[in-house]
């Protein structure tokens, strides 16, 4: 298929990052204002709290062709909403374990706690994750072929 050949030529992974508004999104802003680079592969979606991330969003991203999904929130204990990230932690642990169980590479999913002060951590995390995904290659297992253009 010509499509596959094309993608092979220059593989650019697609990474969706869900960032909580109060810590990780602000951490990404700090990475920005500190000019700490990471690949353009990473696209950030702002959510109020990591607990707003529905497993549906993660699956949807994979379905539409994302190669990796990362959820970033406040450090446990620092949630702006006091406990949202504790719920998110349980949900995502179980969801990611399930995806692993279904045979999806476990490296494609990740949760990180990044505070508003951790611009450096934001950038290193994204660099690392992008590298991992790049090495892993395309997500073929969970993508919906009908969504290919």
């Amino acid at each position: 298929m010509s499509l596959n050949e094309e993608t092979k030529k220059e593989y650019k992974p697609l990474i969706v990052a869900f960032c909580c508004n109060w810590c990780s999104y602000a951490g990404a802003d700090l990475a920005g204002s500190s000019r700490l680079t990471y690949p353009t592969d990473v696209k950030i979606i702002r959510v109020p709290c990591s607990c707003r991330v529905n497993p549906l969003f993660v699956l949807r991203a994979f379905q539409r062709g994302a190669d990796g999904v990362i959820i970033a929130g406040c450090h446990p204990g620092d949630c702006h909403y006091t406990s949202g990230n504790y719920f998110a932690r349980r949900r995502m642990t179980l969801l990611f374990s399930m995806l692993d169980y279904l045979g999806i590479e476990r490296e494609r999913t990740r949760v990180e706690w990044i505070s508003a002060a951790e611009g450096v951590k934001f950038s290193t995390t994204m660099n690392e994750f992008a590298k991992t995904i790049h090495e892993l290659g395309e997500n073929k297992k969970l993508r919906d072929l009908r969504c290919e253009e």
Partner: protein, 323 residues
């Protein structure tokens, strides 16, 4: 056993404890039993035997909203689902009189057939023996050899809730297998092997929704997969992604609420071992957050609606190793 239950039920209807009974009746085939509501005069059709597999608790959502009180016949494992539905305010407890019925494990007609027995006309349970009348004559089988898989991992003979329990006097059925055996086996495969396994299984799905409709935890008034506004409603079954999505989300929605009643796999016409998805969640919950049996304790908060500050990090999925 049926007679014992009928007698108890007649008594309860006569003394106006309730005005009707939710129980089982024979379907098109004798082994194909179906839930039904009986008035006092219809009790002749009420049956209870090894094929009374359907979990009746879900039917109480509707039944308990009606006027009057209904007697619910619940096997020990059905009472977990009943409790879970009470916790979720789905059943009006005041309108239900729970009669706990003993259970010796449900029978699997397919396992009987696999024994090479053909032309089955009726099956009688006599102690530990099954007397099978076929067009080729009478055959016998030890009961224990043809028990439904889910009953091999029985949760126990104790009713979690009941207004009254009927005692059979027969020895209690006990679990014969580790319910996480297959989950562990899958966990020990490589990720590609697991993917191949699930792709093989889930691609059989015809989206008949039987699993969802029978599941006592899937009790939403409207399922997100039926709701056009949700943007994830059922699409054609032409693509296996939809099946992945449906079954993952369904398992996630019932995670922490699933009592492991095993109805999903029992009713799946394609024989997909759907309970292995739910059991994975149960196993993870047990390992990460402590043993939890949904429906056992009506005061419990539920593993996904509470947390501990020192819960494991999601990276445990990677650290745990495996292939």
């Amino acid at each position: 056993m049926t007679e014992l239950i009928k007698a108890k039920v007649s008594e309860l209807l006569a003394n106006q404890t309730a005005d009707r009974v939710l129980g089982w009746k024979k379907g098109e085939f004798f082994y194909d039993e179906t839930p039904a509501v009986f008035q006092a005069e219809e009790l002749d059709d009420l049956v209870y035997d090894g094929f009374s597999a359907p979990n009746l608790s879900k039917y109480l959502i509707k039944e308990s909203k009606k006027e009057g009180k209904v007697i619910a016949l619940l096997k020990p494992c059905d009472t977990y689902s009943f409790n879970q539905l009470i916790m979720e305010h789905r059943i009006n407890r005041d309108n239900v009189y729970v009669v706990g019925v003993p259970c010796r494990g449900n029978l699997d007609i397919n396992k009987i057939r696999e024994k090479g027995i053909k032309g089955i006309q009726s099956i009688k349970e006599q102690g530990d023996e099954l007397i099978i009348e076929t067009i080729y004559g009478t055959k016998t089988l030890p009961r224990e050899e043809v028990i439904l898989d889910r009953c091999l991992c029985c949760k126990g003979s104790q009713h979690m809730v009941a207004d009254e329990v009927i005692e059979s006097g027969e020895p209690a059925w006990e679990a014969k297998a580790d319910r996480f055996e297959m989950v562990t086996k899958l966990e020990n495969m490589t990720s590609d092997e697991r993917f191949a396994f699930w792709r093989g299984e889930l691609s059989k799905c015809i989206r008949c929704n039987a699993c969802r409709n029978v599941c006592p935890a899937c009790s939403c008034l409207q399922c997100v997969f039926d709701d056009p506004a949700s943007k994830v409603q059922a699409k054609s079954n032409a693509d296996d992604f939809e099946e992945n999505m449906f079954h993952i989300i369904r398992a996630f929605h019932v995670a922490g609420r699933c009592t492991d009643c095993g109805e999903c796999s029992r009713v799946c016409p394609q024989g997909i071992p759907l309970h292995l998805l739910n059991r994975k969640f149960i196993k993870d919950i047990d390992t990460f957050y402590g043993e939890y049996q949904a429906g056992a304790d009506i005061e419990a908060k539920g593993p996904l609606t509470e947390f501990n500050k020192d819960d494991v990090e999601p990276s445990i999925v990677k650290e745990r190793g495996g292939k």
